[in-house]
Symmetry: C2
Subunit: 635 residues, 2 copies
Amino acid sequence: MAKITFQPSGKSIDVELGTELLRAASQAGIEIETPCGGEGTCGKCIGKIISGKVDSDSSGYLSNEDIAEGFVLTCRTKTLDTPLTIEFSENLGSEGGQFGNSDEDISLVRKELFPKEKEFEPLAKKIFLNVPEPKTNDGLSDIDRLKKAIQNELGKNEIVFPLQVIRSVADTLRSHDRKITLTYVKDSNRYIIINVEPGDTTTYLFGIAVDVGTTTISVQLISQHDGKAIATATDYNSQVKCGLDVISRINYAKRPERLQELRNLVLESINKLIFKLCDKKQIKNSDISDAVVSGNTTMAHLLLGLNPEYIRLEPYTPTLLKTPYLVASEVGININPNSLIYFSPAVGSYVGGDITAGILCTDLASDTQNIHLFIDIGTNGEIVVGNSEFLLACACSAGPAFEGGGIDCGMRAATGAIEKVDIDSETGTPKYQTIGNVKPKGICGTGMISLLANLLLTGWIDHAGKFNRAKTSPSIKIAGKYGYYIITGASESGTGKPIQISELDIDNIIRAKAAIYSACSLMLKHIGITFNEITTIYIAGGFGRFIDLKLAATIGLVPELPIEKFKYIGNSSLIGSYMVCISQAYKEKQNVIANRVTYFDLSNEPGYMDQYTAALFLPHTDLDLFPSVKSENST
Amino acid sequence: MAKITFQPSGKSIDVELGTELLRAASQAGIEIETPCGGEGTCGKCIGKIISGKVDSDSSGYLSNEDIAEGFVLTCRTKTLDTPLTIEFSENLGSEGGQFGNSDEDISLVRKELFPKEKEFEPLAKKIFLNVPEPKTNDGLSDIDRLKKAIQNELGKNEIVFPLQVIRSVADTLRSHDRKITLTYVKDSNRYIIINVEPGDTTTYLFGIAVDVGTTTISVQLISQHDGKAIATATDYNSQVKCGLDVISRINYAKRPERLQELRNLVLESINKLIFKLCDKKQIKNSDISDAVVSGNTTMAHLLLGLNPEYIRLEPYTPTLLKTPYLVASEVGININPNSLIYFSPAVGSYVGGDITAGILCTDLASDTQNIHLFIDIGTNGEIVVGNSEFLLACACSAGPAFEGGGIDCGMRAATGAIEKVDIDSETGTPKYQTIGNVKPKGICGTGMISLLANLLLTGWIDHAGKFNRAKTSPSIKIAGKYGYYIITGASESGTGKPIQISELDIDNIIRAKAAIYSACSLMLKHIGITFNEITTIYIAGGFGRFIDLKLAATIGLVPELPIEKFKYIGNSSLIGSYMVCISQAYKEKQNVIANRVTYFDLSNEPGYMDQYTAALFLPHTDLDLFPSVKSENST
């Protein structure tokens, strides 16, 4: 016997001495087109020997140079008595794909918060099995023999076969001499079989983490063989056309066909991203065997087609907080149809699974000494304060401004977004920077913060966010009641239209930041502490890789505190989902967090409107809260 | 509070004193159209008070005579402090339907073999629940509160909610003051929720038993409230156009799209019958909450879309023998989509679930003293011999002749089928009788047996099944090589064409009966007993309510034995399925039977072809086996 490992898939198989490599590849479940029927004339089966020796006669097709470099026609090559590694080029299709270590999205979170090696345990696992041969009158069906083989390896638990798996068993067993790879999930005392594949594909296993935001959706592809995040894709939630925030979506969903429409839209968005990732990494979506989905409670309801109406009606009771495992085909997420989808547990109608995922990216739940604050800036702003003894959460409707929603030239943090704007204090003209250094297409959340803060610091806008009509700048246009700041004209713009921010846009941004800041202050007031007593302020949100927190404090989005107290952790809903996807211990942690969080209802709190109204200024009506802006002003 | 019972559905509900009956009906989940909006002017909500007193003012619409008879406008009538029974006419739609005690199909089996009251236990059960009210910040979702209510009633087991049920929970809880009826299944330690309905519908629960034959399909509707079979419908399996027997179907299924076609065809047949039964009994198919399906191993594979190829290839290994519970929506059977479908367990590739169901209708598995024989005459003939100590089964391919298949004027035992033909010995002319006493449309299995036996006894055909060409009869036509027996000309026929049997048809019938008889003899020979040592011969098959076993012995389909030894038990696959559908104890019994049966492979038995060839005569080449035919001959 000789072991053959196929790259780049990493699949391996033990074969008899003298086995043709093309046949071995097929036994390992690697499909290679051979239009010539294995006659050595089409060259489609060419591979490169990376290590090991073979008995090959590829001279009829390959040049001596190619042969010297290790290339062989696998249909003309047989194994010798040595382990062998052979590599196929990527364009072989579904088997290809070199996975880079593209963990840029998760690098924003301290690595020590991540699951350690001993905690690495995906929900869906793979096992290679050798199923015994059927015998006449043994009274055993294929499923019976497969069951026995599984129970021999994994123990005597109940085994659940979905019908789709049952359908594939007979042919799969017979195509590779009863050598198969099983994908399974252990749930309570049962093994649920997700997939049965021919040959040994144990190193080839994928999962996805999904963040379903009100405005944007992100999907991260994870190699569940080693727990590495290998690619991420983000796009708008197609539901935005049916309403910008959760309340308008809930209203839209009142008619059953519209609820169905919202469900279809979000599924379409998710599935497009999955398709994109699979295409990029050259894997089949059916190779994805599990998924963790996190979203606010309304998003989770809409995705599942649940009537969200009662989320917004007293006493604010959702259908589900902890969602059971659901089958992918039933949910409508296009991965292996038998996979189980896990939804991050929610705390209440306004504190969802995105927040229990997000807390995993912080020290909030574990610190026995210090109190930390977690602010997730999304269309809904959620704030959690606590430590190992208490966790208190509240939510406020910030609106989608920081994600680019409701802002004329707004866009999310993607290539072409203006993420930084400096203002010449004399002329009021801008110097901007775009993500990817391409022509600007719009302005993202960090760009808006930068623009507003610098306009304020240079005196081109006042504390109410209105342009200083006493001065003139070529970049400022006053048209009727409203002023506009033109960042770039049509000629320089990537869209062919000027990119500008109006006073109405600025109002939107101020309302968003006021909602978040006042919610934070009120919650701290409620528990009787000040911002100074907070050890870390974790800022989460879809700001990309960058948010200037000093400027965020300048406009009053966050309190003014020493910069080292802030920690920007990016899309913590996605990163927390990633952690849960690669670790069942972290799934357990997240559940403990969900049970521990207490919901603090802002709307019932006296003084809420006062606090909010007071925050509707840049940075705030009470400048003592923002001493550096105050001193800047007095100069 | 007053209890109101609504007929004919039997639903009931407790309501406050003074509740309007129309509103109470709606709370109980009974939909009544009220085009006038409950203004007392359209008359659509009329009901009849069967017992109890009401406070009614229906005088504006109803006559005094109507009112004296108990009719009321339910929108103008309120409850008083007494229990009330009110009846709506059947044309109210889904709620209607008087269930007769139509157990004609099950009357062929001795009642003492049926589940007793203590053994009556359907898989899916109903329970009425009062779910607690949600409270602000109780941290409980609708599903959480529902779970608690279920666990209070049923115990602390895990509860599984399918997504479709989760979707309906919020509105159902809120439509009837959190009074609901739950349909559930207990599987191992889990409760699987099938349905959540508003109000109390506990007496309204249905199941189906399904016999999937190679040629015909029967579905029986069962009221799972009392375990009564309330209607049966039978039709051809639409797959017949793709091949008459299992081998030809397996061959047809070799291409995946054809396997899918066969699956669609059988599902179409089953679902049409379900629709017919629901329409007849005025119930919704979603009110059917479980199903037991029995069929031979190939039929079960095709219905589930499993590749049947390996059933006919050595070593004859099917994908499944014992099928796990499968969800109705996944299988494609149109009952409540969350219902669990149970497939009767098979013994081997050629002894299927129809036989383990059939044995339940006999004493075979339980008799500690006597040996019994069970012959299921279908397209495949299956024979089981045994008692409480052993059960041996074999199968032979009889072909569909006795079900009307492969016979020019053949049809199944339905209205219009000739079921009896007497022959005038002088003239050779027939006197026939049809099912339902209507014009004949064809000839069924019992009719063929009657015709052939009487033609043989009167000397119009010989032992080889050929017409006596020495005599002439107005009913016999010789055309070229073949003779024809004309039972009726075109004018008397219900189809406008003559109804006749050719010598080729007779050959088919002889091959069918020879296959069955020789299989029986060979199996008895194998275990070393004779027909005389058998206590009962159970004959099963789709012969309708009647088979003349004396005439069946005359043609050699069954051995010649005292008539009291025979017991015709009809479609035992369907009746056994009915038993399993109403009793989990019988499901257990059937599983024990499946484990006990040993398969006897006829094709490996020396002498099989000799036995078969010897039986290709009427009744047999060895007339000593059929002494009464022999003596008839010698007279």
